[in-house]
């Protein structure tokens, strides 16, 4: 068990180190020196030289990487070129909105997807199965922003049931907070839901044909007990895996969803940074999102031992 955790942990650290190298080199592989990019189009050579020196860009690349990485490890991503505010402060300001959106989406999508996938597998080939898998195929194909505008048009503009855009912090009341997250959460969650539902169905189909399910049925276990008590737990590892891998899908979706619904989260921060060519922000957000992705997948890997005790060995 301890060896397993140690192995997974070291693999995670290696991946994050490589992410760091890629993100660091991105800025240096770009045409034109980073200093010229930071200084803007109208800078004089003297200004560029000054920035070069200030940022330590006149030192060897390995030294630069060392300095940058040491700062990143301590949570310092530099300051925004555009506003001069430390990137970490900007991220902290935007964090609650993004975390709210992500948590609501994951909770809603994973719950519905697992239940739907279980029942689709139970009556595979039936009407319910076909409808669910049809919705799953749509979920993969309709982009987040099209679903988002469709939901806004339908439920906010036409029916006036929910607010059009924006974000309200949880401190201003649970109802209002949730009302602003229903539509973006649905738009964002659709592809994620499709992914999890498909894997749940496939994994359940495999488990349901095993002998011990027949035994459970023979001794009179109810269908619900068969499905959720006996089968789901054994089908759990692939489902947990895809919930983790799907986080990548979710992060890409967050950037688009926050733009559609005008949510002041980290995704909006990134999009605004593109417009201003604010590289420290883009770099910082890339490292942070990759870190979150890798960390969640580490937790998923460790959760296998809870789902399936055989992995503990």
């Amino acid at each position: 068990m301890a060896a397993y955790i140690a192995r997974r942990l070291s693999a995670t650290l290696v991946v994050m180190a490589i992410v760091g190298v890629i993100v660091f080199l991105l800025l240096h592989a770009a045409p034109g020196s980073p200093a010229a990019i930071i200084a803007g189009d109208n800078a004089t050579p003297a200004q560029i030289a000054l920035i070069n020196h200030e940022l330590g860009l006149d030192r060897p690349l390995v030294v630069q990487f060392g300095i940058w990485a040491w700062r990143v490890v301590r949570g310092q991503f530099g300051t925004s070129i555009f506003s001069g505010v430390p990137v970490m402060d900007l991220v902290e300001q935007r964090l609650p909105a993004t975390v709210s959106l992500s948590l609501v989406t994951i909770a809603f999508a994973a719950t519905i997807a697992v239940i739907a996938g279980v029942f689709a597998a139970w009556r595979a080939g039936g009407l319910l199965d076909q409808v669910l898998m049809g919705i799953a195929a749509l979920g993969f194909s309709v982009p987040v922003f099209v679903v988002g505008y469709l939901l806004i048009y339908l439920f906010a503009i036409t029916l006036h049931w929910l607010p059009v855009q924006g974000y309200v912090p949880l401190s201003r009341g649970l109802g209002s907070w949730l009302a602003h997250l229903v539509l973006p959460g649905t738009a964002l969650g659709l592809a994620y839901l499709a992914l999890i539902a498909r894997i749940t169905r496939a994994s359940m189909l495999e488990v349901l044909s095993e002998d011990y399910i027949r035994t459970a049925r023979a001794k009179g276990a109810s269908p619900l007990s068969q499905l959720f008590g006996h089968a789901l737990r054994n089908a759990g590892v692939p489902i947990a895996t895809v919930i983790g891998i799907g986080i990548a899908l979710l992060i890409s979706g967050v950037v688009l969803t926050e733009t559609v619904f005008n949510i002041p989260g980290i995704g909006r921060l990134t999009v605004d940074a593109i417009t201003n060519r604010d590289y420290p922000i883009i770099q910082g957000v890339m490292v942070i999102f990759s870190g979150v992705y890798v960390l969640i997948n580490l937790m998923v890997d460790l959760s296998y031992t809870l789902i399936d005790p055989r992995i503990r060995r």
Partner: protein
């Protein structure tokens, strides 16, 4: 990607007729037909669609009518024309990224599967690339390099590569343990010949299927990047650009957003369905 797929399909149709192909693989036929129709429309656009760039402020935000089939946008441009021309970019990006992904996957995958030293290095790089959310990596690449369609294609291709490389590598690792490959190695065949004659053929079917999924994903990412303003320059009509340019007119002129949006969804769905059908057909083990 489509060339590889079309040959066996044509052979099957000649042998058993179109009807049987449809009965056996309805999703593939429907998907393929929709893709073919979109390709034809996009190529023949100048024959029937008005100029997608000509502005006419007098006729801005007109609802769909006999003159403007999909209405007009905030600058009075014909939405139908822009949707049809936008298909060109989506199809081109989808196809080139799919081809690039297949080619890159083959080169790196074959090398990794055969040479331990390259394998360790390339696969660590791929692990790192996979950990960075693809749209963020693409955004960073586009905003750093700037420029038109080629940069966007490269920016979509790079985050897409690890999956293709992993796929080919896993196939190579599986196949190289087979007796016929071991026999070839023992017989002293050159590595290049082993790769070409004995290993390459096993990768074609799964890579073709993978290519369709990469194509669908590339079309979605391109639209997303253009929508965010980090993709194709706004002067070129693409579905993402059209939606981004009409954001504020959702309540007033929903057709400006939903026409390109629905076209995008239909194309991606068609490519995905085609891929699913292809997978069931080429690799019956996956069939449900």
């Amino acid at each position: 990607m489509s060339d590889v797929a079309i040959l066996p399909i044509a052979a099957e149709v000649r042998r058993h007729g179109l009807r049987r192909l449809f009965q056996r693989h309805p999703t593939m036929v429907i998907g393929g037909t929709v893709i073919a129709a979109m390709v034809l429309l996009a190529l023949a656009a100048p024959l029937f669609a008005p100029n997608p760039l000509s502005m006419n402020p007098m006729h801005r935000l007109r609802p769909p009518s006999g003159v403007h089939w999909f209405g007009t946008d905030p600058l009075g441009r014909d939405v139908f024309a822009r949707t049809v021309y936008g298909a060109r970019i989506s199809l081109f990006v989808g196809l080139t990224v799919a081809l690039g992904g297949v080619a890159g996957g083959l080169v790196f995958g074959l090398l990794c599967g055969f040479y331990r030293r390259i394998d360790a290095m390339v696969m660590r790089l791929m692990d790192g690339l996979m950990a960075i959310p693809s749209i963020l990596l693409a955004i960073a690449l586009v905003s750093l390099w700037q420029g038109g369609v080629p940069v966007v294609i490269l920016a979509i291709l790079i985050p897409e590569l690890p999956r293709d490389v992993r796929l080919v590598r896993s196939i190579v690792l599986g196949v190289r343990e087979r007796p016929y490959v071991e026999a070839a190695i023992a017989g002293g065949a050159r590595t290049s010949k082993i790769l070409r004659r004995h290993i390459l053929p096993s990768t074609i079917a799964p890579l073709t299927v993978q290519g369709t999924y990469v194509c669908a994903s590339a079309i979605l990412v391109e639209a997303g990047l253009s929508f965010l303003g980090a993709g194709i320059p706004p002067s070129i009509p693409t579905w993402g650009n059209m939606i981004a340019g009409s954001e504020l007119y959702l309540a007033l002129a929903p057709w400006t957003i939903f026409c390109p949006g629905i076209a995008l969804a239909i194309l991606v769905l068609a490519v995905n369905l085609f891929g699913d059908g292809l997978r069931d057909w080429l690799d019956p083990r996956f069939a449900r």
